[in-house]
Amino acid sequence: MDVDALYQEIILDHYKNPHGAGLREPFEAEVHHVNPTCGDEITLRVHLDGETVSDVSYAAQGCSISQASASVLNDLVIGKPVGEAMGLLDDFTTLMQGRGQVEPDEDRLEDGIAFAGVAQFPARIKCALLSWMAFKDATSQALDIEEKTDA
C-alpha cells in the first residue's frame, strides 16, 4: 500500500486544475450527493442533447481523489452517447471495486486509469466514485424527464 500508487501525478494534476468545474446552464437534472462518512459533497448537473451527454457541470468539496475523479469524469463523458457513458461508468466502478486485480483499459478510461491505485485503499473508493454516482443519478433523472417530455 504505497501512497504514491494512490496519488498518481495525473490525479494531483486534475486536483489542482479540475476540468469543467463550475455549475452551468442549461441542464435537465441536478443532484446533490454526499459521502456520509467523510462529508465530501458534490452538486452535479447533466445536460443531455437527445442521446448525447452534452454537458456535465459540477461544484464539489472534497479531497484530491474525489475532485480529480470529477474532473476525469468530465473529460470522459462529455460528448459521448449516454449508453457509452454508462459503459464507462461500469468500467470505472469495476476498476474501483477490483481490489487492485482489474487491469484498466487505457483506450477507454484514459486518465481514469490513474485511479487503479485507489482500489487498494478501501476507504478512498467512495471518494473516487462520488462524482460518478452523482452522474449516474442525474443522468437517469434527465432521461426520465426526456421520456416524459417526449410522451
Binding site: 454526499v34 456520509p36 462518512t37 467523510c38 476507504a123
Partner: protein, 417 residues
Amino acid sequence: MTVVDPVTYDVARIREDFPILGRRLAGDLPLVYLDSANTSQKPAQVIEALDEHYRLHNANVARAMHQLGAEASGAFEDARTKVATFIGAPRREEVVFAKNASEALNLVARVLGDAGRVREGADVVITEMEHHSNIVPWQLLTERTGATLRWFGLTDEGRLDLDDLDTLITERTAVVSLAWVSNMLGSVNPLEPVIRRAHEVGALVVVDASQAVPQLPVDVAALGADFVAFTGHKMVGPTGIGVLWGRHDLLAELPPFLGGGEMIETVTMERSTYAPPPARFEAGTPPIAQAVGLGAAVDYLSAIGMENIAAHEREITAYALGRLQEIDGLTIVGPKEAVDRGGAVSFTLDGVHPHDVAQLLDSKGVAVRAGHHCAKPAHQRFGVQSTTRASFYLYTTPEEIDALVDALHHTKQYFGV
C-alpha cells in the same frame, strides 16, 4: 431426515474446541452444560478471533481512514457478509447489527409505529408461546398507538393452534410476529401457512428466530418473512450482538430507530437526512469486535454444517425425551416426541419445585435453567408457574443426558418423593 454421520460429526472432537467444557465445578465435578437455549458456550475459534481483533486490529469502523481503521472496517463488513450468506440473505445490506434479538424485535416494533404502519384500529398478532422479548415490544407498541394485540393459542401438546388462522389474521392485521422455535416448549412452528395468510391480507411477518438460527439451516429468502431476528450468544458467538434481517425495500423506506453517528447522511442543526440501510439502523459505534466474533461463530458452524448440527440436535433431543419419560413423576411440558421439535425440554417433577430441582442438579454439576424462561404466558397456559428446562446443542452427548437422568433420580431421593 438427515442422520448424523459419526465420521463427519465427532462430538468428542467438537467438545475439544470449547474450553469451558473442561471446567471442573465444586466438588471437582465435571460440568454438564444443558443450558444452551439460555446461552451457548463459545469455541476457542471465536474467543481467539476476539482476542486477535483487540490485540492487532482494533479501531473504529467506517469513519477511520488509517490502516487499522481499514482492517477493522474490513473485518466488520466481512462479518456482515458472512452472516448474510449464512442465512441466505439476498443482499448483505439487509443484515442490521443490533445488540441482541430483543433490540432487533424492538427496533421493528418502534419503527413500524413511527412509520404509521401500526396505528389505531390495526391488529398486531403474536402467539401465546412467545418469549417476553416478542411480547412486550408489541404490548408497548399497541399501547402507544391504540392498536390491538391478539394472539394464537396453543394446543394441549404445545403446538401453535392454527384453527383460528383466518379469523385471527385479517384485513385489520398490520403485523404478525412469532417464534420459529419455542425456547420453552421446543415446538418448531409451521411458518409457511402463517406467512402465506399474513401476506394475503397485506400484513408484515416478523420471525423470532433466536432458537432457530443456532439449530437449523436457515434460508430467509426461501422463508419469505419480512423480518427475522436472532442473537449472537445463542449460536456460539459473543454476547452484545444480535441481528435483524429485513427485506431491503422495507428497510429502505422505514424511518430510523436510534439517531446518532453512522446512521446519518447529512446533519444540520435544523434537520438531518439518513443513510441507506443497514447504516440507518446502526446508530453509534457498532459492536465491532462482537461482529467479528459472530463472523467467526458463523464460520465455525458452517464448517461443521448446519444440516449436521440439526441432525445431531434431533437425535440428542429424541434420546433425552425418551430417557426423561422413564422417570416417574416427571411431566414434559411441550411436544413429547422429537418431531418438529427443537432441543429445549421443559418439565416438572412432582413434589419438587423447579428451582429446587435445578439446585440439586447443579450440586451434581448439571447446569439447567429453572423458572419461567421468559415465557410466563406459555407457563400459565399449561397451568404451571415454572419449569425446569434442559437444552442441548452441538456439543451435547448422550452421556450428559444420562448424567441429567441420574441427577434427577438423586433429586427425587433427596426430597423424598
